[in-house]
């Protein structure tokens, strides 16, 4: 019973279920419990659940004809490289990938001769603030960091995302097809992230990656103590940890309260005892947005994205995750990941890194250019290159190239087929969308980039970008180059802005 209750709670906190789905599952529960049926007829709506997905994705792939891309060097994102390869996109999905001769396409479909070009999965950025810190950057649009309390687990990044941010278009022109928008790092708990498909829409709901789990942004080290040191704390790293732990204790209690309620409700609903049935249904606990998010993280339904630069702090966080029984998905900005790459691999935690940014604060002083490659070199590791920048997101391929080159210089065997994983499959895995995107495998979303050359060259550019099979960016076709509202009609109409600007 207890276990079932936990699962029910898990389902309700997981953003993956749509509102409708949630109602259906509640109805199913009722059907299997005749007593509850009777209660429902009396006006009882079944077990109370906070809305599962109150701002559901309305994203729908755009129409896409079948396309065969052939003759290219294909990096699959699974660690494979196919020279003279081909990929077939059909019905928005990848239908086949393989050697050019081996991929059989239906007669008469669009065929792209991609000789001399490279094809990769769409790029995935696990750390972006697009939409929350959009262009233009003004007080009016600065919506990325709820710097009002050390714990703002109740805020959701999607409520700040301005879908008209021109940065989305620039990222698209750089091959980015999915991204996670995170709240800023001022707070111990920054709030929920949102995962988007990089398809322009009037609404953020129209961009939301269907059924993607939520993430929770947390921050180690300098930022929270700097921001709150003279505002009631935390003022130290030990204060940071005390803050996390107190919040986890509260979240565990909240989770138990809801689990207990679900157990009690089920018992009541299933009861054959007339006296018991006469009583009112057990009352649901009050909702708390902050604790709802934290409880979801404890349940494993919300993925923890922990901004953490220093090696020693990462290992302390790992211990804390054991203390409270949760899992850290990814350490972001993991400048010192190379110092504890073994710990990260053993605990199945990804490290999201820059290739060479460093020094802007003391906890960023110790980077090495081989950081990603050293993390990669560990068995069962998960190295990710992230941007945290509206400029950097436009060249994640270049960042991966630099990190790859530095690794090779010290004898780490890493080539483009491996390094592409750092900006595609690994971030997708860390974000929990790897069953749908991040690699070129049959059945996955046709999120595909055609580069005009080796994407690990500084001279390469994304030429065509497909999302769910739809050609949404084409360097040579202005009609396939999105322009945001803000940019239209500027500079005496001379200038058009747009993705390839």
């Amino acid at each position: 019973m207890k276990k079932l209750g936990t699962m029910a709670l898990a389902a309700l906190i997981l953003g993956a279920c749509s509102q409708q789905g949630g109602d259906e599952s509640a109805a199913d529960d009722a059907a299997s419990a005749p007593a509850a049926d009777a209660k429902s007829a009396d006006g009882d709506g079944g077990v109370v659940q906070p809305p599962l997905d109150p701002y559901p994705s309305t994203y729908e792939p755009y129409a896409a004809g079948a396309v065969l891309i052939t003759g290219a060097t294909v990096l699959t994102g699974t660690g494979e490289r196919i020279d003279d390869g081909a990929i077939l996109l059909q019905d928005g999905k990848i239908a086949a990938v393989g050697a050019a001769g081996a991929v059989i396409a239906p007669e008469g479909i669009t065929t792209i001769d991609a000789q001399g070009k490279w094809v990769t999965p769409g790029v995935v950025d696990i750390h972006s603030h697009l939409g929350d810190y959009p262009s233009p950057s003004t007080d009016s649009t600065s919506d990325g960091n709820e710097v009002t309390s050390p714990n703002t687990a109740h805020v959701w990044a999607e409520h700040s995302v301005w879908p008209q941010d021109a940065g989305f278009t620039r990222a698209l022109a750089a091959g980015v097809t999915s991204l996670q928008v995170l709240p800023g790092s001022a707070n111990l708990f920054g709030g929920r992230s949102v995962i988007l498909k990089n398809v322009p829409s009037r609404t953020v709901q129209g961009m939301k990656f269907p059924d993607a789990a939520y993430g929770l942004k947390m921050a180690c080290g300098e930022n929270p103590k700097r921001v709150y040191g003279d505002r009631g704390g935390p003022g130290t790293r030990m204060g940071n940890f005390a803050g996390y732990r107190a919040a986890w204790i509260e979240a565990a209690a909240y989770r138990k309260k809801w689990d207990d309620y679900a157990t009690k409700y089920e018992k009541w609903a299933a009861s054959d005892d007339d006296e018991e049935k006469e009583k009112d249904a057990p009352e649901a606990p009050g909702r708390d947005l902050k604790l709802e998010t934290l409880a979801g993280a404890l349940a494993g339904d919300i993925k923890i994205n922990m901004h953490c630069y220093r090696a020693d702090e990462m290992v302390q966080v790992i211990d804390m995750s054991r203390e409270f029984g949760y899992k850290v998905s990814t350490f972001h900005h993991a400048i010192e990941a190379y110092k504890v790459a073994d710990y990260l691999a053993e605990n199945g935690i990804c490290a999201a890194m820059w290739a060479d940014w460093w020094g802007f604060k003391l906890e960023a002083y110790d980077t090495v250019r081989e950081n990603a490659a050293l993390v990669h070199a560990q068995p069962d590791s998960c190295a990710i290159i992230h941007s945290d920048s509206d400029i950097g997101i436009q060249r994640l391929n270049q960042e991966a190239a630099k990190a790859m080159g530095s690794g090779r210089r010290i004898g780490i065997d890493v080539t483009p087929k491996d390094a592409i994983v750092w900006i595609t499959a690994n971030p997708a895995k860390a974000m929990g969308i790897d069953d749908q995107t991040g690699t070129l495998e049959s059945g996955k979303m046709a999120d595909v980039v055609i580069w005009n050359g080796n994407p690990f060259s500084v001279y390469a550019r994304a030429e065509q970008v497909f999302i769910d099979g739809a050609l949404l960016y084409d360097r040579d076709d202005p009609s396939r180059s999105p322009r945001m509202d803000f940019e239209i009609g500027q500079l005496e109409n001379d200038y058009t802005g747009g993705a390839g600007q």
């Binding site: 262009s135 233009p136 950057s137 003004t138 021109a166 940065g167 620039r170 300098e222 700097r226 190379y338 110092k339 504890v340 790459a341 073994d342 060479d356 940014w357 460093w358 020094g359 802007f360 604060k361 003391l362 002083y365 110790d366 980077t367 090495v368 250019r369 081989e370 050293l374 509206d390 400029i391 436009q394 060249r395 270049q398 190239a401 630099k402 790859m404 080159g405 090779r408 210089r409 010290i410 690990f456 060259s457 500084v458 001279y459 390469a460 550019r461 803000f486 940019e487 500027q490 500079l491 200038y495 802005g497 390839g500 600007q501």
Partner: protein, 435 residues
């Protein structure tokens, strides 16, 4: 000849002497490389002879002088060292750490001086940023202050990247001022305020120059510190370049009028919309230091930002160089080659990109007779790359500054070596890899 020019010459003389003393009797022959002289044609199997800190000979089929250290550069690229045209190198160790950041007065504190601030007073040649960026092929840099609450930031210095005690090559190389939105923010939040203020500064500086004794005795509004006005003298007499942070095309047109009216030497920094006024900039002989990777309407003054800025300015005949605006890129001057590669991908001719990394910076600061190309007589800042310097996976193999081969070891390399092996070992990591 003004006093400041005199001082500059003296300084170059000293730097030259230092180079001579350390590089004396050192002769190096770099043989059979792909030599990019920058000012001449590419020499496919080229040789560069370095003697006594200077480039002695450049050409094909040269003979290595007897006793010379010979470096076989076949399959390698030989070019002048990268000259970073603006940075906070040596001023900023840790950006957000007040104690380790001398780049400028902290904003909001109302510190009274501005133009008088001088990078050489804070320049730290022992900064770990120097060897890290030297290993990336950067051999010269402008070390420039960052503005606090006032328009002017102060005086920039040109340094070599040896990290040596005599590594300041040219103090007082330029004055830095914030205009455009950055200027407006410091002038009552309006561009009118910034133009009125900068004119007033220069008028006062001229008034002081016309009769210093009278100016000091005369009753006047105490608007500007005397030391700032004194520091602006080489700016108003047109000998010292004024580095102007500015982006918007209309602001730039105002700057051209202002430059002509006051007969100034101007270098634009930023210039995200400079391409819109390329012909005007060319006619006014104003070079632009830009970030070729910047393409967002980040502020209203950047609406025209485009990856093609560099290519379009070059096409218009405007001299360009690159910077990395992240903290002026002090941490990653080594990425200027990546910036240049991106400019090439957006249409800038390859050789123009190499020039933008070398000779153009030298010309902006009147050092083209000393630096920026591989020509006999010039200071031997030479880098041998293991491939295309603009590519992402290439690196310098050998770096010469003042004709002296440089140590490419640095703190990041040492940290990497320390932690390559994460096993417990016989002793803790603190005992490893520090050599």
């Amino acid at each position: 000849m003004s006093a400041s020019t005199m001082k500059n010459l003296t300084c170059i003389g000293i730097a030259g002497l230092v180079a001579l003393s350390t590089a004396a009797a050192q002769t190096t022959a770099i043989m059979n490389g792909e030599v990019h002289t920058i000012t001449g044609a590419v020499i496919e199997n080229g040789d560069v002879i370095i003697r006594d800190g200077r480039i002695a000979q450049v050409g094909a089929d040269l003979t290595a002088p007897a006793g010379a250290t010979v470096i076989d550069a076949s399959g390698k690229v030989v070019m002048p060292g990268i000259f970073a045209p603006i940075s906070t190198i040596g001023l900023e160790e840790i950006g957000s750490d007040a104690e380790a950041n001398d780049a400028g007065p902290k904003s909001g504190e109302g510190f009274p001086l501005s133009a008088a601030l001088n990078a050489v007073d804070a320049y730290n040649p022992s900064s770990v940023l120097i060897p890290i960026n030297r290993a990336g092929g950067v051999t010269r840099a402008v070390s420039a202050p960052e503005a606090g609450d006032k328009l002017f930031a102060g005086r920039a210095a040109i340094i070599d990247m040896t990290g040596g005690v005599n590594s300041v090559m040219k103090p007082d190389a330029a004055q830095v001022v914030m205009m455009g939105y950055s200027g407006a923010r410091r002038s009552g939040d309006t561009r009118m305020g910034s133009w009125a203020t900068i004119r007033e500064y220069l008028d006062e500086a001229r008034s002081y120059a016309a009769n210093p004794n009278d100016y000091v005795r005369r009753t006047r509004e105490d608007r500007f510190a005397l030391s700032d006005l004194k520091a602006l003298q080489p700016v108003v007499d047109g000998t010292q370049p004024l580095m102007v942070f500015i982006n918007d095309a209309n602001d730039i047109l105002n700057l051209i009028r202002f430059k002509n009216a006051y007969r100034l030497r101007v270098i634009i920094v930023g210039g995200s919309e400079a391409w819109r006024v390329g012909p005007e900039l060319q006619a006014a002989n104003i070079p632009v230091i830009l970030d070729p990777m910047f393409n967002l309407p980040a502020q209203f003054e950047d609406l025209g930002a485009t990856l093609e800025n560099a290519a379009r300015l070059h096409e218009a005949g405007v001299k360009i160089a690159f910077y990395n605006p992240q903290g002026f890129g002090a941490y990653n001057l080594r990425l200027l080659t990546q910036h240049a590669g991106n400019a090439v991908a957006a249409g800038l001719p390859y050789e123009a990109a190499l020039a933008a990394l070398t000779i153009n910076s030298a010309e902006m600061y009147d050092l083209q007779s000393q630096l920026g190309s591989l020509e006999p007589g010039k200071i031997a800042d030479v880098v041998i790359w293991d491939g295309d310097p603009l590519e992402l996976t290439t690196e310098p193999e050998v770096v010469f500054i003042n004709g002296v081969r440089q140590d490419l070891n640095n703190r990041q390399v040492m940290l990497r070596e320390r932690y390559r092996d994460l096993s417990r070992g016989d002793l803790p990591h603190a005992y490893r890899g520090g050599e």
